[in-house]
Amino acid sequence: MVDVQFRFREDEAVNDPAVTVDAFSQQTNATAVRIEPGDDARDLLPHLDRLALVEVSFPAWTDGRGYSSARILREAGYAGEMRAVGDLVIDMLSHLRRCGFDAFAPEKALNEEDARNAFDRWDNVYQATVVDGRQAIWAKRHPA
């Protein structure tokens, strides 16, 4: 298993072995799932209450389907660990965070300092993704 290099959660790390989306719906005792780019994250919606860990796999960082998968699960209320796994690059870390990822397990460890800078890069954001809890620039321009 690849190590988690960055984690933005206070709770105990979950290290249950993740199973595929197909297997997850069959195995009623599984608590961790691994989403591949071609999987439909919405297949998991009936089982959110027993999920403790979602791994979203990035075989290549240039395949952006995992961003939608993560955000869809967060929009549906999933609050457990959302871990990005695979070919992660420094320059996309903050965008992954914005889509609801809170743990990062790059297959090759990233330079700590560059990665920390990347996480903190954007003081403001143009969009509300809702799932990252950040206020969009338009909301700051028009305080309620």
Binding site: R65, V89, Y126, I137
Partner: protein, 544 residues
């Protein structure tokens, strides 16, 4: 026009810092070229045949004179004294050094410009009608909606690594000057029966090797759902657009393979879901943006008289100006297609001169057109002769707008690593062959477009006459297409038959224009005659 607030400025400055850091890591060897490539592309930096090319965004084609002046200065300081205006209303520089790019971006940021998402598999610069805010027949100014979409699409975290590039155009007139239905998403601002403004959405258009005209996917999206609906369109594409083959990865293939109805069903389902998420900016934000696009202080008493005694001026006025919504003003287009020149190129001095003229005579505003020309949107008729004189002295008074000389051409094999054939020399030969003003006047409106490979950056599918450069056993060969159009009557051109050599294709075009002139009825344009009489007579003349 739009003015950055502290947030917009901070976003652009942050991007410069981020890019500077990426270049540092690249030069230090921490990033390989393979790793760096997708990152630099999101900043408009390509590696071409001879050097890096930097593409600078001109959001919806609108510029002020300080910005335009800087574009000229960059051409001098970092390039070879010229820039190239593109078919997506941007400008690109073809001789850039990697280590200079962070400084160039920093200079651009000082005048509220950037190169964000001008390439890469993300949402690109939003294009629009170059006559926005000036055209007599528009429903509303489309640019505030384009600006709202610009901010939404800039660094949108979910949509930065799409299956393929994604181009959006916004118009608000019946006359389509932006080739709206040849975009991944085309938006037309409309008024419904209740008199409310909303957005009509088209999706799945595009050129490239499989040209498609976008079907209508929604008649009316209310203004307070514009971002949410766009997000639904993009999410369905991001999840289901093909990633197995880059030539089948554009949204047009998804819409085609699913069928328009199934794509619409999926978008509507996603849209219904996203409406439950508070992601839509309030209408107050749109109002804030709109306030930047109010009319300039037109002189209500401006005279409508125009002295046309100078015959060259008269020709230019007839060819290169359009009616303005305000009496006493015109919209003037500067052709960047001099006879024998490189379409879309302008020297640093020419760029700065246009900037100065815009400052003095067009309320500090310019536009870039998708046909690679420059527009002064608001010129007082009383000033027009002065403007023309200055343009004339700078070699910028070519009176050939929308004629056979006003060619759209991609950079082709002279610059581009994807090209199969050169585009620029063909454009130059055609423009010389049809160079005389009488000849151009006789032929009238004829939109000619040249691409140096099937990626179709020169829009050849949408030309009344289109030329496609291909590689035939190691030799450059040119296929001819007739009958394309990018306007409200969008159509795709048909291939005439076997291809030609460079000189052969120029001869074939001449024959095609002869067929048109011999068969023309009344005020018909080339395209109208072609549509009436069909391909056969042209084919006979060209190959007979």
């Amino acid at each position: 026009m739009y003015k950055y607030d502290e947030y917009d400025q901070q976003m652009v400055d942050t991007r410069v810092a981020e890019f500077r850091d990426q270049v540092r890591r690249r030069l230090a060897g921490d990033l390989t070229e393979d790793q760096f490539k997708p990152l630099r592309l999101q900043n408009g930096l390509y590696l071409q045949l001879h050097a890096y090319m930097l593409r600078v965004a001109v959001p919806y084609g609108t510029l002020n004179s300080a910005q335009m002046t800087l574009l000229g200065d960059i051409a001098d300081k970092y390039d070879r004294g010229y820039g190239h205006f593109t078919t997506r209303q941007n400008i690109q520089y073809n001789w850039i050094k990697l280590e200079d790019t962070p400084d160039i971006l920093a200079e651009l940021a000082k005048v509220e410009m950037h190169a964000i998402q001008t390439s890469g598999n993300c949402i690109r610069n939003i294009s629009s009608d170059q006559f926005a805010g000036a055209a007599a027949e528009e429903i509303v100014d489309p640019r505030p909606y384009a600006e709202l979409l610009r901010q939404w699409s800039s660094f949108h975290p979910e949509f930065l690594v799409l299956p393929r590039k994604f181009k959006i155009a916004v118009i608000a007139s019946e006359t389509d000057r932006a080739a709206m239905r040849l975009h991944d998403i085309g938006i037309k601002m409309v008024k419904n029966d209740a008199g409310e403004i909303g957005a009509q959405f088209y999706a799945g258009g595009g050129m490239g090797r499989t040209p498609m005209i976008a079907p209508l996917i929604r008649e009316f999206v209310p203004l307070d759902q514009l971002i949410t609906f766009s997000e639904a369109c993009l999410r369905v594409y991001n999840r289901y657009g093909r990633r197995d083959n880059k030539y089948k990865a554009r949204i047009k293939i998804l819409v085609h393979e699913l069928g328009r109805d199934e794509y619409v069903r999926q978008v509507e389902e996603e849209f219904a879901h996203l409406l439950t998420q508070p992601i839509e900016p309030p209408l107050a934000e749109l109002e804030r943006i709109k306030a930047h696009f109010v009319d300039p202080g037109f002189d209500a008493n401006a005279s409508d008289d125009l002295d046309l005694t100078d015959p060259d001026f008269r020709l230019w006025v007839e060819r290169n100006t359009h009616a303005h919504k305000q009496a006493g003003y015109v919209i003037a287009t500067v052709s960047l297609k001099p006879i024998g020149g490189i379409p879309g190129d302008a020297t640093a001095d020419q760029i700065r001169l246009m900037a100065k003229l815009a400052k003095d005579y067009s309320f500090d505003e310019l536009r870039v057109t998708h046909a690679q020309n420059i527009v002064f949107p608001h010129v007082k008729k009383a000033d027009l002769y002065t403007v023309w004189k200055a343009l004339d002295e700078a070699g910028l008074s070519t009176a050939n707008l929308d004629t056979v000389g006003d060619i759209i051409a991609c950079p082709g094999l002279d610059y581009c690593s994807l090209a199969n054939a050169r585009s620029i020399p063909v454009a130059q030969k055609i423009s010389e062959r049809f160079g005389s003003a009488e000849r151009q006047a006789e032929i009238g409106e004829l939109k000619l477009k040249i691409s140096g490979c099937i990626n179709a950056c020169g829009h050849h599918h949408a030309g009344h006459i289109g030329i496609l450069g291909v590689d035939k056993k190691g030799l450059e060969n040119y296929q001819l297409l007739l009958g394309g159009s990018e306007g409200a009557d969008t159509s795709l051109g048909q291939i005439t038959g076997p291809g030609f050599t460079e000189d052969g294709v120029v001869d074939a075009i001449e024959k095609a224009t002869e067929v048109y002139l011999a068969n023309k009825e009344g005020e018909e344009r080339f395209l109208d005659t072609y549509r009436r009489i069909g391909m056969a007579p042209f084919k006979e003349a060209i190959y007979g």
